[in-house]
């Protein structure tokens, strides 16, 4: 409680100072300005209501793979580690951690002041219990492979826990940040058939108060949270499956926040009235959209052909046309702005002339003047597939079709329902080129997508990319803890993939949340806006939901 007080008062002072400064400046010009707001202080209370397209599925954190469940779980639970606002690893339930010299043992020193939401003390036993459960094959944890190299988990004492690895695995520090579940409530219970999924108990800043399926989830703030009681009393997630309706709810005050579409961000919210009541944020999301070429298809064997196709794609037109400018160009498979992302790689600015030259070099020439290139009697004509129902990708495909037509490449677009898209085309490698997107984990390790081992049975290297150097770099990257060295490794991978263009990397879209102005304390950072949610507050005079 002492900690909380000191933290809060520091915050308070800073705020008052800011406010005071503001008031003196303003009143210098307008003397009649009353001191309203001067006593505006950090206050507890109110509720934050956000809109979500879909309901959560399960609040057993290690079984959840959908984004709503992930959101709610991140409010209820904590992991050993987390990322800070700049996406750097930092301790969460662990006060500190150290990695042994041989990089095989990670020791976590746990916080001693952590309580479960039912009042029981959190200890190292909970940590061991959690990972034992995840690694138990009967529980079919989707992310179990992240922990397969763990040899032993040892509880050293009540607040120290050690993970021994079979081989060094650098992403471990982040992967071990998975949510910890309470042993005292779950031991000797079949976790898949118990009601924990709908009645969870965590260590996080909020606890579940009510879950009405397909309507809303209400979380109450946890007063004894180890980082201090959150200022906002209730966190509510309302399920509103239609985005147009969500927007109507937003402007009528039914919800306080939602993720806007680029169209809504640019046009529907560009009014004085909207800006008076909401703040719009804009930051890069951790995902990118790309065209993937099936490298087993003879059409795409030649690197020059892929480079030519990339030169012929007008990314700016795509970002302006499809995303209304709400995105940035992507050059490689890492999160832009992080240490792994290499700004100095080969780029492919829109240049149809250069594309034509490269194709000519590779032997593709329009011999019969039909506007389509040929080589050895083969027409440069192929099918570009994407998943149905994603309007953005379908629009991107249409622009690219036009772009490529201009350099003599004929493309037929086909949008396929998601289920068939995965099982019949992607899994069976039965495609020529496709448009898809990846959401990237924060750790840059991308073995599952780019290593040649991930080509086999249903692996995600479905374009069959095989490059020995990249393979060994990926393996080294996984074993290297030193960030400078990892930086060199991943930037090299970025450089190679940019040169070889197994994908034509297209864009990173922006995340575009709008939040009601009554919430203060929001500080946008590379991690987004919600990382410091427990520090958000609503000044007492502006509070909307009071008891």
């Amino acid at each position: 409680m002492n900690r909380l007080k000191s933290k809060a008062s520091v915050y308070l002072n800073r705020l008052i100072k800011k406010k005071a400064l503001f008031i003196t400046t303003v009143s210098f010009f307008i003397f009649s300005v009353p001191l309203a707001g001067a006593q505006e202080i950090l206050s507890y209370g109110d509720a934050y209501v956000s809109g979500s397209i879909a309901d959560a599925i399960t609040l057993i954190p290690f079984l959840a793979t959908d984004s709503t469940s992930g959101n709610i779980n991140s409010m209820i639970f904590n992991g050993l580690t987390k990322v800070d606002k700049d996406l750097n690893i930092t301790g969460d339930l662990a006060e500190s951690y150290d990695v042994s010299d041989d990089k095989l043992t990670i020791t976590f020193h746990l916080r001693k002041n952590v309580l479960w939401q039912d009042g029981v003390k959190f200890t190292a036993d909970d940590v061991k219990f959690t990972f034992d459960i995840i690694l138990d094959p009967r529980n079919a944890a989707p992310y179990a492979a992240n922990f397969q190299d763990i040899e032993e988990i040892k509880v050293v004492d009540k607040y120290t826990v050690q993970f021994k690895y079979r081989k060094p695995y650098a992403p471990a520090l982040l992967k071990l940040g998975t949510a910890i579940i309470p042993k005292h409530l779950l031991k000797n219970i079949d976790i898949k058939n118990c009601n924990f999924a709908r009645d969870p108990v965590g260590t996080g800043p909020y606890k579940l108060a009510e879950w009405k399926t397909d309507q809303h989830i209400i979380l109450d703030s946890f007063y004894n949270y180890f980082e201090g009681r959150p200022f906002i009393d209730k966190y509510v997630e309302r399920v509103i499956p239609n985005q147009a309706v969500q927007f109507l709810e937003l402007i009528t005050g039914g919800i306080d926040s939602m993720g806007l579409t680029p169209y809504q961000y640019k046009y529907r919210t560009d009014t004085k009235k909207f800006k008076e009541r909401f703040v719009k944020y804009k930051y890069l999301s951790r995902s990118y959209t790309y065209i993937g070429y099936n490298l087993k298809d003879p059409l795409f064997e030649d690197k020059r052909v892929r480079q030519a196709l990339s030169y012929a794609v007008d990314r700016k037109a795509i970002i302006d046309g499809v995303l209304m400018g709400m995105g940035e160009e992507c050059t490689g498979p890492f999160i832009k702005g992080t240490y792994a992302y290499n700004e100095e790689v080969r780029k492919y600015p829109y240049n149809p002339q250069k594309a034509k030259e490269l194709l000519k070099e590779a032997g593709w020439i329009d011999r019969n003047n039909d506007g389509i290139l040929e080589k050895d009697g083969l027409k440069f004509s192929f099918k570009l597939i994407t998943n149905q129902g994603n309007k953005q990708r379908e629009d991107v495909a249409t622009i690219i079709q036009q772009n490529w037509r201009e350099i003599g490449v004929e493309v037929e677009i086909q949008a396929i329902a998601w289920a068939a898209f995965i099982t019949e085309f992607v899994d069976k490698r039965n495609f020529q080129a496709l448009i898809l997107g990846w959401t990237m984990p924060i750790d840059p390790d991308n073995y599952n997508v780019w290593h040649s081992d991930s080509m086999k049975d249903g692996g995600l290297n479905f374009i069959s990319y095989r490059n020995k150097e990249v393979d060994s770099l990926i393996e080294r990257g996984r074993e290297t803890y030193n960030q400078d060295e990892r930086q060199r490794i991943y930037r090299k991978i970025h450089e190679i993939t940019a040169e070889e263009q197994p994908y034509t990397f297209l864009y990173f879209p922006y995340a575009l949340p709008a939040v009601s102005k009554r919430f203060k304390g929001i500080e946008p950072a590379p991690a987004g806006i919600s990382y410091n949610f427990i520090k958000w507050y609503v000044p007492e005079v502006e509070q909307k939901y009071t008891r």
Binding site: T65, P142, I218, V245, A419
Partner: protein, 323 residues
């Protein structure tokens, strides 16, 4: 009559079996499976986790074995667990059923109480202005896309006038409301959805009633009634309407499964927590137990609905006798 009902009841189980088998086969014939839908293209989920999930749910076994397992459970009314969240299917249905029932039953009552008079009046005053106007109106309703009308209404009544709530069944802070307050609140939230459902659903019943009313008022016994000097109101509502309602009973029987089926588009627009959304998500996610569970209940209700309307025929029309 009793013998007939028993005979019909005995026919229901084999039909359920046949239909459910066809449903399961159809689902397995479409490309895709629950494991790929859940974890497909997630860079953090390994291929082995996908395979493991299939094994866990018995999806690696032949379809006929899976069907056998399902059948064995269903005879004890065990609908199994959902593949999406491992919760019992019956629980998931129970959660959504009230919302759908409230909406669909009140819509049905509303539609009947508006459509029947419209149908009768436009038959009695055939080709009058009223007839033409209502014909035009119900067809406009029939042709209006639900989601479009819903959005217009929300925008006007919810946003511009701020008279009515935009979406949902109850506000999240309703947990402290007293019971009467809750009921009022529910009615409040029902206005827009009900209006939309009724306006777009008037055509069927009103047109059927009009048509069958037109048939009946040309019958000899109506002329006889007039000749007897009965009041026009009595002729129409007592003698004619009773007979004209016969085909409407068939429709009523067939609406029974729709009562629990809900509507996906409608529920999505109004954020209504009903069965339509449950079924739609289940189909998209290849959640076989839920699809089969909701499906079998719908089929059961369809068959029962047909049986009930057959029985009602006999009750309403003395000429019909079953042996």
């Amino acid at each position: 009559m009793f013998k007939y009902i028993v005979k019909r009841l005995f026919l229901i189980p084999p039909m359920l079996m046949g239909i459910s088998l066809i449903a399961l086969l159809a689902m397995h014939l479409t490309p895709g499976d629950p494991a790929s839908m859940r974890y497909g293209l997630n860079p953090e989920v390994s291929g082995s986790a996908r395979a493991h999930l299939k094994e866990l749910y018995g999806l690696d076994k032949p379809v006929i074995v899976q069907y056998g397992g399902w059948l064995k459970r269903i005879v004890t009314l065990d609908f199994g667990d959902s593949f999406i969240d491992d919760r019992p299917v019956i629980e998931k249905i129970k959660e959504r059923l009230p919302a759908t029932l409230i909406l669909q039953i009140s819509a049905l009552i509303l539609i009947f109480s508006i459509a029947l008079p419209i149908g009768v009046m436009s038959a009695v005053k055939q080709n009058s202005f009223f007839d033409k106007a209502t014909t035009f109106l119900v067809f406009v309703g029939f042709a209006t896309p639900t989601f479009w009308l819903a959005l217009l209404l929300m925008r006007f009544f919810g946003f511009q006038l701020e008279w009515l709530p935009i979406s949902g069944m109850s506000p999240w802070y309703a947990q402290d409301y007293s019971l009467p307050h809750r009921i009022l609140d529910l009615l409040w939230h029902l206005i827009l959805p009900l209006f939309t459902l009724a306006f777009t659903g008037l055509a069927g019943i009103s047109r059927y009633t009009r048509y069958s009313m037109l048939e009946v008022i040309r019958q000899d016994y109506i002329r006889t009634a007039r000749a007897k000097g009965l009041k026009e109101n009595k002729i129409i509502y007592h003698h004619a309407l009773k007979n004209a309602l016969l085909p409407v009973i068939t429709i009523l029987g067939l609406t029974l499964p729709a009562l629990i089926g809900g509507s996906f588009i409608f529920e999505t627009i109004f954020a209504w927590p009903g069965m339509g959304r449950l079924m739609y998500t289940a189909i998209l996610q290849y959640d076989y137990p839920v699809v089969m569970g909701v499906g079998i209940i719908s089929v059961f209700l369809t068959l029962t609905g047909i049986l009930i309307s057959d029985i009602l025929y006999a009750v309403v029309d003395p000429r019909i006798r079953y042996e």
